[in-house]
């Protein structure tokens, strides 16, 4: 079942001589439960692509459909609510809310939606993330790896159809990176969620079902796990 459909996506920054084409006519789609990695050089346009798909940035041209809903046909308020309910974000710098403990951070999107958090579900997530001992800790009391696990929990709690991860292991050591990756894959498989992840790490990309390479704003589908080499 097709969850994400990106059609002729382009993004241009600046005007005149400083005009930069960050994304050039990108089109692709993803199936439900698919795990894809986006690789590419710094400044190639990976993050811009992710931000456009997530509705954080507005493309100059093209459309993004999420389960048939045209993201940019929605007004700002409805797009925010749609994003809250259907897209989970994981950032390199975690971006947890310092004032909330682990449990509250995970439940944050539910609280924003004025939903009463389902205790069983939160407990299940916390157990899955291995944060049982730390549920009442504040972000400042956690290691980088633990913080990223909380961020993953936050991305999963609304059971969104799409999870967008922007270099989720970029700030972590190799062991923590491996843990986070395993967790992400396990969670996505467990909850049957579609994941699009940016990474610089070829080894981590190798775990993905599909790999996209972005070069100078152009996207190339590199195929799946069957590919022995990514470049």
């Amino acid at each position: 079942m097709e969850i994400l459909q990106v059609r002729n996506l382009s993004k241009v920054y600046g005007e005149g001589e400083s005009r930069v084409k960050a994304l050039r006519d990108i089109s692709f789609s993803m199936e439900k439960g698919e795990f894809a990695a986006v690789v590419g050089e710094s400044g190639s346009g990976k993050s811009t692509l992710l931000h456009c798909i997530g509705g954080l940035d507005t493309p100059t041209q093209g459309k993004v459909f999420l389960e048939g809903e045209d993201l940019f046909a929605l007004d700002e308020k409805r797009r925010t609510v749609f994003r809250r309910r259907n897209i989970g974000f994981i950032f390199q710098a975690f971006h947890l809310i310092d004032e909330l403990d682990v449990e509250q951070n995970i439940a944050f999107p539910l609280l924003l939606d004025h939903q009463k958090p389902d205790r069983e579900r939160i407990d299940e997530l916390i157990a899955l993330l291995g944060l049982g001992e730390r549920r009442k800790h504040l972000p400042g009391q956690l290691s980088g790896g633990q913080q990223q696990r909380v961020a993953i929990g936050r991305a999963l709690v609304m059971q969104p159809m799409l999870i967008l991860a922007d270099e989720p292991t970029g700030n972590l050591d190799s062991k923590s990176s491996r843990d986070v990756m395993d967790l992400l894959i396990r969670a996505a498989r467990h909850f049957k969620q579609t994941v699009l992840m940016i990474t610089h790490n070829d080894n981590l990309a190798a775990d993905a079902d599909r790999v996209f390479r972005v070069t100078d704003g152009c996207l190339k589908d590199m195929g799946g796990k069957t590919h022995e080499k990514l470049s």
């Binding site: 997530g54 809250r84 310092d98």
Partner: protein, 792 residues
């Protein structure tokens, strides 16, 4: 770039927004201090000017001083001027007259012209020779006198003295109001006049003006000891002494104490505002300072960088703040000049208050230097690792999670943003509270003003024409004629019927009856405490004036006994009329010396009861631009037989004092309210700026615009509520202390809870919070989520 400190201007350009906010905060603090101190300085100057005009420029008056002693006093090094001073016929009981009109005779030395600015010589010279006098302008105009003319003074012993005029002095309020002439002469000449029926004797009273730089109280004590002058023969010009800080009057000392306390509070408010701003600014740039450390800057260099940067802000913020403060002072002074040119015409258009400038600049720069210390240490303490590890977001490390059980998430976060960091919360709430404390403390000045300066009543006349025998003998047609005089704004007459008796259930009472026309009924509206004014205006009943428990009440019936022989009407014998009290006034422009009831009725009722149709008094109010020509026109219409009272100058005295007080008192309160508003808006804006990346992340994970508004509003409301609470807890007792020292001590009025002031400042805080939320929320909405989450 020769030095690492040259990086400061570059850093300023890059962190333009933060720098602008810090500069704004420093500028506002400096503005507050400059404006308050500058206004206080100008108010003192205006009070000084008024004291000189109203009472003279003398510091001490010494009684029973011989001529030799007066000369010795005049020669003392700290004495700037000294004059002997005597008056005759001051109470008009001795009947010194010129051309049939009462004259007040003043004897003084030439130096009195310096000491009494109101009596300044407008033309001619002070008489040096025998028989020379100077006379007032009214007399000059009335008798068409010129320099060198002779005048004849009728003295009480029946003889006449001839003098020649050597000069003219300006109009004096007292002479104009009493409608009498004023003659001034040398003391030697004065002493030749007989003392029959004198209110005093020829013992000289000496007025002394000291150097303002000496200890005047000590000088007075020395003079007392030297010439054995008892305390009861010494008078002091307390208001003038107070304006130069030399008063030892206990109530003045209490006011000095309160003024010092208020000055201290203003300074502390400035320190708090600047400290809060610098702390917030530094916290936002922790990463930058970590980067400096990374690149090899020592802790000392970073601290020096922060201090120098703070002083760099002062380069623009301090001149801007002082300039704005001065502009406010100029504007208020200009308003004062416009409203009361007679009193404040001498104030400079662009007077510089050095006290205000010095206070603003010194406190501003000193506070910035002092306040930069703590952030400088904080910045110097930043580990280089924080810059490279990306953990230096500048966010405060929390100790407790937000309470999401009691409040919705956005409200919980907003409240937690305010209360999360105890130090920041205390600093912010205290600075909010300080504005409230300042407002409450300064609001006592309004009560002080209301006690110290009685405003001119709306019915106060500029000119009054009075029947010489207090009878109804002024033709009513004269009032209509006066309305036609150019420059006359309003004419209203009253008829009086005295020595009436009214019989009530409680017994017989003495009363007098006064007639009102429409204007006077209009002014009486505010004083009506019972009954109806309309009924009385229509001729149905009369108004009584409340004077205590025994007063007449609305609805009460009485019988008025009219003694036709004594009253104004025609006929003779007694006549009884039934009257009804239709309304009761709390107050009226007259008073009854013998405790008689004051009864007010319409002109028609007066005519029906008392029989008189004409007026006893006609009051006239003039247009603002009316001059002496108008007064002359009125005088010529009225004729010589009427008593003419010119209250223009004394009204100007009252208005001048009132304008000066009101403008500066409300100016103070306005500036404090304005600063309170700016400070609240700036503080919230800084708080939001510090969390901008966090807000970006919140928006990325689904917080909508409405929730953002609620979150910032909750934070602002938390500061506002706690600030109000702290402000009330400290401000109300302070209000009590200031009230007690400034008002209760002097006038005995008891303290009251400052509910109105609290409501006003509460409304200012509430409005400021609304505006404070609007700006940052707009910025958050315009914020690029991508930039925020990417750390750009």
């Amino acid at each position: 770039m020769k030095n690492y400190l040259d990086l400061i201007p570059v850093s300023q350009k890059i962190h333009r927004k933060q720098s602008r906010m810090a500069r704004l905060c420093i500028g506002l603090s400096v503005f507050l201090i400059t404006a308050i101190f500058g206004m206080a300085d100008m108010e003192i100057r205006s009070q000084n000017a008024q004291a000189k005009i109203n009472y003279g420029e003398w510091h001490a008056g010494l009684g029973g001083v011989s001529d030799e002693e007066a000369e010795l006093i005049g020669r003392r090094p700290k004495t700037l001027a000294c004059t002997r001073y005597d008056t005759l016929n001051y109470r008009l009981s001795m009947h010194y007259q010129v051309a049939g009109k009462e004259a007040i005779i003043i004897g003084f030395d030439e130096e009195a012209l310096d000491i009494f600015p109101a009596a300044h010589l407008e033309e001619g010279r002070f008489p040096q020779e025998e028989g020379g006098v100077i006379v007032d302008r009214n007399m000059q105009k009335a008798l068409s006198l010129n320099l060198g003319d002779g005048i004849v003074l009728s003295v009480p012993d029946g003889t006449e003295r001839i003098y020649h005029i050597t000069g003219f002095f300006g109009q004096m309020p007292m002479l104009a109001k009493k409608d009498v002439f004023g003659l001034a002469m040398r003391t030697e000449e004065f002493r030749k006049l007989p003392l029959e029926g004198a209110e005093g004797n020829h013992d000289s009273f000496v007025y002394v003006k000291f150097s303002p730089w000496c200890n005047i109280q000590r000088e007075i004590r020395e003079l007392q000891e030297l010439f054995r002058i008892p305390d009861e023969r010494v008078s002091r010009n307390e208001l003038l002494l107070a304006t130069i800080g030399q008063s030892k009057d206990v109530s003045m000392l209490a006011i000095y104490g309160v003024a010092l306390l208020l000055a201290f509070l203003v300074a502390v408010a400035g320190v708090l505002m600047i400290t809060g701003s610098l702390n917030s600014n530094i916290v936002q740039r922790t990463e930058f300072f970590g980067m400096l450390r990374c690149l090899g800057a020592s802790k000392g260099q970073v601290a020096r960088f922060v201090r120098r940067e703070a002083l760099y802000w002062c380069r623009t913020a301090v001149p801007a703040g002082t300039g704005l403060g001065m502009a406010v002072v100029w504007a208020l002074s200009a308003v004062l000049r416009f409203l009361s040119p007679a009193y404040f015409g001498g104030m400079p258009y662009f007077g510089i208050s050095f006290i205000g400038l010095a206070a603003g600049s010194v406190i501003g720069v000193a506070t910035v230097s002092f306040a930069a210390g703590s952030p400088a240490r904080k910045a110097a303490g930043v580990s280089p690792l924080t810059a490279v590890s990306g953990n230096a977001s500048g966010r405060t490390r929390m100790k407790k999670a937000a309470n999401t059980r009691m409040y919705r998430i956005e409200t919980a976060l907003g409240i937690h943003h305010a209360l999360g960091s105890r130090k920041n919360f205390v600093l912010m709430s205290c600075s909010f509270a300080f504005s409230i404390i300042l407002f409450l403390a300064f609001s006592v000045a309004v009560d002080f003003m209301e006690h110290a300066v009685k405003p001119l009543k709306p019915y106060a006349p500029d000119i009054s024409v009075i029947s010489p025998d207090n009878s109804c003998s002024i033709d009513r047609a004269l009032a209509e004629g006066l309305m036609g005089v150019d420059g006359v704004k309003r004419v209203y007459g009253r008829s009086f019927a005295y020595d009436l008796q009214i019989n009530t259930e409680g017994g017989a009472r003495q009363a007098y009856l006064v007639s009102y026309e429409a204007c006077q009924f209009g002014w009486a509206k505010d004083s009506l405490i019972e009954g109806s004014l309309a009924e009385v205006m229509e001729g149905d009943g009369i108004l009584a004036v409340y004077h205590g428990e025994d007063s007449l009440r609305a609805g009460q019936e009485a019988v008025m006994v009219l003694d036709r022989d004594r009253s104004v009407g025609m006929g003779s014998g007694e006549e009884e009329r039934q009257i009804t009290v239709s309304g009761v006034l709390s107050d009226c422009p007259f008073h009854s010396a013998g405790g008689e009831e004051i009864l007010i009725c319409s002109e028609e009722t007066f005519e029906a009861l008392a029989g008189g149709k004409d007026y006893t008094v006609i009051d006239i109010q003039l247009e603002r631009d009316a001059g002496d020509g108008t007064v002359e026109g009125i005088r010529s219409l009225c004729g010589e037989e009427m008593i003419f009272s010119d209250s223009r100058l004394s009204n100007a005295e009252v208005k001048g004092a009132m304008y000066s007080f009101r403008i500066f008192v409300y100016g103070f309160l306005g500036v404090i309210a304005l600063i309170c508003a700016f400070h609240i808006m700036n503080s919230i804006a800084m708080s939001v700026s510090a969390r901008m990346s966090q807000y970006g992340a919140m928006r990325a994970v689904g917080m909508d615009g409405g929730q953002m508004v609620k979150m910032v509003a909750a934070e602002a409301a938390a500061y506002g509520v706690w600030g109000m609470l702290f402000g009330c807890l400290a401000g109300v007792p302070l209000h009590y202390v200031c009230f007690d020292k400034m008002i209760t001590y002097r006038w005995g009025t008891g303290w009251y809870f400052p509910a109105v002031s609290l409501c006003v400042i509460g409304a200012v805080v509430a409005c400021s919070l609304v505006f404070a939320v609007y700006g940052p929320v707009k910025r958050i909405r315009e914020l690029s989520v991508v930039d925020a989450v990417s750390g750009r």
